[in-house]
């Protein structure tokens, strides 16, 4: 035992250093290879004379965001799904939408090999544009406050010293981080809006902030909980969803005109009515494009 002790500790150090290097190397190679591969496949498709119809565009999505995209048993449904169907028909391209979850979507779209785009109600923000390219805006949204009936909360600023639940990685998280401070422990971030809403229901939060479509759907589906939705236009401005592309993607140039066409030819309005029961006000969306 005693004689081995010295070499054992040294070996331990060498081993841990090796593991650390290995992890970094794998991570590094991973993204390098991915970049090479994606540029290679792009080159391939241009060489074959732009036969866009033959390549299948694969969209990654986090389908846990009803009514925008969600799983109904094993099929993916929602506004975004119907919308992309119209866009891809307009562009004349084959496509597929796969539920990958949020994290996998982020990384695989960044690499751009398996999935060439992300479709998951992603709001276009400056921070995100540093890592990704976005399509032209295709959906106008805003955040909404959800409270229990009889609450004294009337606007976003009333939330300052309240306990607020949000979903991590959403613009609601970002807005409330600005209002309350990133490190504020009264701002509770959850993996999904469902869990955030359960926290409100169980008295662990005074309010939930989330996208308006999500809050409305939840209030509609849970009439017994006596919930109220509050809009606050001055503090929660308009935001726009975009399709997520890897940096320098050629898809953007192909799909942007198709998106605009779908919005202009009435198809968009039809899909919007199907999911939200009312006609969209397209003025802000068209201005943002």
């Amino acid at each position: 035992m005693e004689t081995r002790k010295g070499t054992k500790t040294r070996n331990k150090w060498i081993l841990s250093a090796l593991i650390a290097i290995l992890v970094l190397a794998i991570a590094g190679c991973g993204s390098d290879n991915a970049n090479n591969a994606s540029s290679a496949s792009n080159a391939g498709s241009t060489n074959s004379g732009g036969s866009a119809a033959e390549t299948v565009v694969k969209f990654a999505s986090d389908a846990s965001y009803a009514p925008m995209e969600y799983m109904d048993k094993d099929t993916i449904k929602g506004f975004d799904i119907d919308f992309i169907a119209a866009v891809m028909e307009e562009a004349g391209m084959k496509y597929e939408v796969v539920n990958t979850g949020w994290d996998t979507m982020l990384e695989s779209v960044k690499q751009g090999t398996e999935y060439q785009a992300g479709l998951s109600s992603v709001s276009i923000t400056d921070d995100r544009q540093q890592t990704y390219d976005f399509s032209v805006p295709y959906f106008e949204s805003t955040n909404m406050i959800m409270v229990k009936e009889g609450s004294d909360i009337k606007s976003a600023l009333d939330l300052k010293d309240k306990t607020v639940a949000v979903q991590t990685a959403t613009t609601a998280d970002e807005l409330m981080s600005k209002i309350m401070g990133v490190g504020n422990t009264k701002l509770k971030r959850f993996d999904s809006n469902t869990v955030a809403m359960m926290e409100l229901d169980n008295g662990g939060a005074d309010a939930v902030v989330a996208d308006i479509a999500i809050v409305r759907e939840y209030i509609k589906n849970n009439p017994k909980m006596k919930l109220v939705g509050i809009t606050d236009t001055p503090n929660f401005g308009s935001e726009f969803y975009g399709i997520l592309y890897p940096k320098g993607s050629e898809l953007k140039a192909k799909l942007d005109p198709a998106i605009q066409k779908v919005i202009e030819n009435g198809k968009y309005e039809e899909i919007y009515k199907k999911w939200f029961g009312e006609a969209p006000d397209l003025t802000n969306l068209k201005n943002a494009q």
Partner: protein, 215 residues
């Protein structure tokens, strides 16, 4: 590889705070889980099946279901029932302790049963009472054998505490998720979290190695 260290520095104070929470959750749950586990371990060694079955059931349920679900049940069911509303700090300690107790109980039981029955018989034949033979003969030998298994359990517990991000307990993984949300990048937050967990578990490992050699 584009690895943006600037955003890590921005989150550094939060990761530090998260680390303190992780250490707090781990220490509290290790202590509570071990105390509870000791009782469960002895309960599992009862002769009468009638008295033994609640302890058997406890171990089987907590070892046989995902901690993920246990945390949700404790957070949204058990804690609101006793405390009135949800509280991530309480549910974190309770869920981890209850889970850890099942494993600790098995470690205690296995450690004690691994001591040859001849040892106990010899102690009894020397005129020791059953309590004395347990305290002075069986337990000292058993505890020495339990140390590596406990080390393993503690390390698993430290890493398992990352699941508490699920109910917004502000530990390391929680701030990792927050950082991921702001920048929509996964390597910076997750690798940073991994490095912190590695430092924690490696130090724990060292400490346990020291204790093992001292015994």
């Amino acid at each position: 590889m584009d690895f943006n260290f600037d955003i890590i520095w921005g989150y550094f104070p939060l990761f530090l705070r998260g680390t303190l929470y992780t250490i707090g959750f781990s220490i509290a749950s290790i202590i509570l889980g071990s105390i509870l586990g000791l009782g469960i371990g002895f309960g599992r060694m009862l002769k009468s099946p009638l008295w033994r079955w609640p302890f058997d059931a406890y171990v089987n349920i907590f070892r046989g279901t995902p901690l993920y679900v246990q945390i949700l049940i404790v957070h949204f069911g058990v804690v609101p029932f006793f405390y009135g509303s949800t509280n991530a700090l309480i549910s974190g300690v309770v869920a981890l302790s209850l889970n850890s107790a099942a494993y600790a109980g098995e470690i205690f039981r296995a450690g004690i049963q691994s001591v040859d029955s001849g040892q106990r018989e010899a102690a009894l034949s020397l005129g020791m009472t059953r309590g004395q033979s347990m305290r002075f003969v069986v337990l000292p030998q058993a505890i020495k054998r339990m140390v590596p298994a406990f080390g393993n359990e503690f390390i698993v517990l430290v890493k398992d505490s990352s699941l508490l991000a699920l109910v917004a307990a502000p530990e390391i993984m929680y701030w990792g998720n927050t950082m991921k949300g702001q920048y929509m990048r996964i390597w910076e937050p997750y690798l940073t979290a991994a490095v912190i967990y590695f430092i924690l578990t490696y130090s724990l490992n060292k400490l346990l190695g020291y204790i093992e050699r001292r015994m």
